[in-house]
Symmetry: C2
Subunit: 494 residues, 2 copies
C-alpha cells in the first residue's frame, strides 16, 4: 500500500513559488466562507516519525488565517482526562462549526503504538478501529469536513531524515530516543499502520497518503488536499441549503396495542408509613454506597427522563438528599448555549462527565434528541434516526470506563399529569413550575408516547438498561428509584 | 467575636415547620426572578468542622430549585489546576448570571489551614486576604450577589458533635482523622478564623456568622440570610435598570502634546537582507527557548494588541513559525460567546490560560475592556475605569504563578494604516481582512489614541511591562517582537 507513496515525487522551488500564491488565496477564501457555515473542519495529521508533521502544520497556519485554526496534540494524559472515558480528551479538542481544528496524532496514535508494542492484539485493535470509524462517521454526518493526512517516508528516507536532524545542532533536540526505537520497529509499524489505514478508509473519512520525502511536494500536496476538501464541503453544503429542507415532524402513527409503557403498573403505591421507613433506610444506604464508590474512584451517571410533572425534580431531591453535596452535581439540560450549538449534540454531555468517584445527575439528557427534538421537528428524521446508535455507543464508552450508568423514565398516566398541572397552578411556590409549554407538550402526548416507546426499545442495552418508574404514586416512585440506584451501586462495587 | 454565635439560640420543631413554607415559597420566587437577571449568586459556606456545612447545603438544594444551583468543593487540586494560577479553579467554578453557585470552603480554606499549620506567616496571610477582598469586590461590582456564611460551634459543641457522629454507625465514616486533629487546634483555628473574617468583612462582602448548635436555627437562619440577600439584590438591580443608564462613550478630549505613543520612533526600519538574517537567527533561538521553557514547566502568555492593519496577524505568524505547534495555541478574541457573556469579562481569559510549559498567544485580549469597550461605550466609565486595577491584579497572579508574560502594542502611524487599508482592498487574498468596521474604527483614531496612552501608562507594571512596537516597517516590527520574546524567555529560564 505504501509503495504509492515512495515514488520520489518532487516539486522544484520554482514551481512551488509559482503555485503557492493561488493556493493561498483560495485557501483563505474557502476559510473565510467557512466561517458562516455550520461545518467544523477536522484535519488529522498522522504518519511516520520525522516525516515533518510539525512542519506541515507550520505551513498550514502560515497559509490560513491562524485565528480560525486551533491545533491540538495528544501526548500526556492529564489526570482530569484519565478520570473520564478515553474519548473525552478528543471531544474536548473538536473544533466548533466554522472553525478548523488540526489534530496531531489524534485517536490513531494510541492504538497503533499499543499494537506495535504488543499491548493489545489484533482483535482488540480492530474493535478500537470500529469505534474510530463509527466516531468519524458520526462527525461527518453532523456536517464535519474530515480530512485525514498520512505522511509517509520509506525506511531509508526515515533514517536519512533522523540522521540529518541529528547532525544539525539546531534540530538535534527534535530527535527523541523513541524515534530511533520506532525506527528499528519500522516494518512492524508499517504493518500495523497499513491495517489501521485500510480499516478506517471509509468513503466519508478517506485517508490521503502523502509522500513526505520532498518537503515542497509534501506541503503543497497537503495544502491542496485541504483546499479541495474545503471547497467540496462548502459546495455540498450550499447545495443542501439551497434545497432548504424543512424538517417536518415525524408523523408516523403511534403503534396501537401493547407497548412498553403500557405495561408499567401505575397502580403501585406505598403507604406514608412504609414510605417514611423505606426512605430513611434507602437514603442511608445510598449515602454509604456513594462514599464507597468514591473510595474506589468509580463515578456514576444518573439520567432522569420522564413526562412533565412526573416528579423528576422531587425524585432528584430525594436522591441528592442522600448524597454528600461534595460528591454530586446536577446537570440541568435546557436549550443549548451557543458554544454547545456549535458542536455535535453529544458534545455538551461529554463536557459534563463526572470526575472519578463523583456522581453526575442529568435532569433530562442526550435523549432529548429522540424525544423533544424528534417530536417537535428540531432534528430531521435521519438525525434522530441515527441517534439511537450514537447514544448507545456513547453509553457503552461510559460503562467501559467503569462509570455506573442508571437511566430512569418517570412514567405517569395522562390523567395523573392533568391532576398535577392543575395542582401546580394552585400552590403558590409550585406555580413557577408550570408553563404554556407544558400544556403544548401535553397536547402531543401520543407522539411523545411513540417516541418514548421506541427510545426504550432501542436503547435498553445490557450495559445501560432503562428503569421504567411507576410514577402515579410519588412515594412509590421515589423508593423505586432509590432502590434501583442502591442495587446498581452495590452490584458494581462489591 | 465568636461569642455572638454562642448564645444557645434554638428554634423549636413547631416554629420551624410554621415558618418554613413561607421561606421556601419566597426563596423559589426569588430564584425564579433571578433567572432573567444578569446577577450571578455566589454562596460561600465556611466554618468549623462538624458544624453541618453539608447539611446546610442539603437543605438549600431541597428548598431551592436544584436545577439552578451548582455546588463546588475544592479539595484535591487536579494537575490541570495545579498548572495554572491558584485562582483558576475558583474562576472555573463561578456561577453564570442568573444562577446560584454554592462553594464549599472556597478561597478561604487554603490560607486558613496554611496559617494554622504555620506554613505561612501573618504577613503572607494578610496579603492573601487582600487579594481575596479585591477579588470579591470585583465580583460584586460586576453584579454578583455574594453571600458569605460562617457556621460556628463552640469548642464544647464541636467535641459533642464529633462524638455523636462517631457513635452512630451510619455517620461514623464522616469523622475524618483531620477532624480530631483540627479539634485539638481549636483555639488556634479560632484565632486565625477571626483574623480572616475581620479582614474580609467588607460592606459589599460581609460575613454572616451563624450559630450552628441547633440545626433548625442554623438552617432556617442560612435560608433567611440568603433570601434577604436575593431579594435585596433583585431590588437594587430593578432600581438600577429602571434608571436605564445609557453608557455614553467617554468623550474626554485626548491630551495634547507628547504622549507615550508619540515617542515611538516609527522611522526605524530593516533592510531585507538584515531582516532575513535576523529572522532566521531569532526564530531558531525562540524555538530552542520555548522547548527549554517547556522542559522547566514554565508557560508563557503573549498578548498582541495594536491598531487595525498594524500587522498583528503576520507578526503572530512569524512567532508561531518558530514554535513547535504542539507547544502553542492562539486565542483569537472576538465577540464573546453567550457563556462568556454570562460571566465576569475576565472569565473568558482565565479559561484559556495555558497548561504548564505551553505558550498561549492572545490575538487581542482583556485589554479590549479599556480599548474598544471604552471607546464604543460597550462598558460604562466605572466599568472600564476599574478595569486597569483588575487587569494588573490578574497579570500579577499570572506572573506569581511563574507564567512569562509579554505584551505588545503594535503601533503604526495614521498614514501608514491608510496605505495598508488600500493595499488590502487591492490584493485578492487580503481582501477578506478589511471590513466596514475597520474604517469606522479609523474615524475614531483620536479617541483610541487617548485610550491606548492611558492603557499603557496605567498597566505597564514591573511584572507586566508593555513593549511598544514600531510597526511602520513590518520587518523591523517582527524582529523587535521576536527579540523581545527571546529576551523575556532567556532572562526567566536561565
Amino acid at each position: 500500500m505504501f509503495e504509492a507513496a515512495e515514488l520520489g515525487r518532487k516539486i522544484s522551488k520554482k514551481v512551488f513559488e509559482q503555485q503557492l500564491p493561488k493556493l493561498r488565496s483560495r485557501l483563505l477564501e474557502a476559510q473565510f466562507r467557512l466561517k458562516s457555515t455550520p461545518l467544523p473542519v477536522i484535519v488529522l495529521i498522522s504518519g511516520v516519525d520525522a516525516a515533518g508533521k510539525g512542519e506541515v502544520v507550520h505551513r498550514l497556519t502560515e497559509w490560513l488565517d491562524p485565528r480560525g485554526v486551533q491545533t491540538h496534540t495528544f501526548r500526556d494524559v492529564s489526570d482530569e482526562e484519565r478520570e473520564r472515558p478515553d474519548y473525552w480528551r478528543f471531544w474536548r479538542a473538536l473544533p466548533a462549526r466554522g472553525r478548523i481544528g488540526i489534530l496531531f496524532g489524534s485517536w490513531y496514535s494510541g492504538p497503533i503504538v499499543q499494537r506495535v508494542y504488543g499491548e493489545i492484539k489484533n482483535s482488540k485493535l480492530d474493535r478500537t478501529l470500529d469505534r474510530i470509524a463509527f466516531f468519524e462517521e458520526m462527525l461527518v454526518k453532523d456536517g464535519a469536513i474530515l480530512i485525514k493526512l498520512w505522511l509517509h517516508l520509506s525506511r531509508k528516507e526515515q533514517r536519512k531524515r533522523l540522521k540529518a536532524l541529528e547532525r544539525d545542532p539546531e534540530t538535534r533536540w527534535r530527535v527523541l530516543p523513541t524515534d530511533w526505537k520506532h525506527f528499528k520497529l519500522y516494518d512492524r509499524f508499517a504493518e500495523i499502520d497499513e491495517r489501521v489505514i485500510r480499516h478506517t478508509d471509509a468513503g466519508s473519512a478517506a485517508w490521503h497518503l502523502i509522500e513526505a520525502t520532498d518537503h515542497r511536494y509534501r506541503d503543497l500536496t497537503a495544502g491542496r488536499i485541504i483546499l479541495e476538501a474545503l471547497e467540496q464541503g462548502l459546495k455540498q453544503w450550499r447545495e443542501a441549503a439551497a434545497q432548504n429542507r424543512h424538517h417536518a415532524p415525524a408523523t408516523r402513527p403511534p403503534k396501537r396495542g401493547v407497548t412498553i409503557l403500557s405495561r408499567v403498573d401505575l397502580n403501585q403505591a406505598l403507604s406514608p408509613r412504609d414510605y417514611k421507613r423505606q426512605l430513611q433506610k434507602c437514603q442511608a444506604k445510598l449515602n454509604q454506597l456513594t462514599w464507597a464508590a468514591c473510595a474506589k474512584h468509580r463515578s456514576s451517571v444518573v439520567v432522569f427522563e420522564g413526562w412533565d410533572a412526573a416528579g423528576k425534580g422531587s425524585a432528584i431531591r430525594r436522591v441528592t438528599a442522600a448524597i454528600d453535596p461534595r460528591l454530586y452535581h446536577i446537570v440541568p439540560i435546557a436549550a443549548p448555549t451557543d458554544e454547545e450549538r456549535a458542536h455535535h449534540y453529544l458534545w455538551r454531555f461529554w463536557r459534563h462527565l463526572p470526575r472519578a468517584g463523583r456522581v453526575a445527575i442529568f435532569d433530562r439528557s442526550w435523549y432529548g434528541r429522540v424525544l423533544v427534538e424528534r417530536v417537535e421537528g428540531f432534528a430531521a428524521e435521519p438525525e434522530w434516526g441515527r441517534a439511537y446508535l450514537e447514544i448507545t455507543d456513547f453509553e457503552e464508552q461510559l460503562v467501559e470506563h467503569g462509570i455506573i450508568l442508571t437511566k430512569f423514565w418517570l412514567h405517569v398516566s395522562k390523567e395523573e399529569q392533568l391532576r398535577r398541572f392543575k395542582e401546580r397552578q394552585d400552590i403558590p411556590y409550585k406555580r413557577y413550575k408550570i408553563t404554556e409549554e407544558d400544556w403544548r407538550n401535553r397536547s402531543k402526548w401520543d407522539a411523545y408516547s411513540a417516541a418514548v416507546n421506541e427510545m426504550v426499545a432501542r436503547t435498553s442495552t445490557e450495559f445501560g438498561p432503562w428503569t421504567l418508574v411507576a410514577g402515579n404514586d410519588k412515594k412509590f416512585a421515589r423508593i423505586q428509584i432509590l432502590k434501583t440506584l442502591c442495587r446498581r451501586l452495590e452490584s458494581e462495587i462489591s
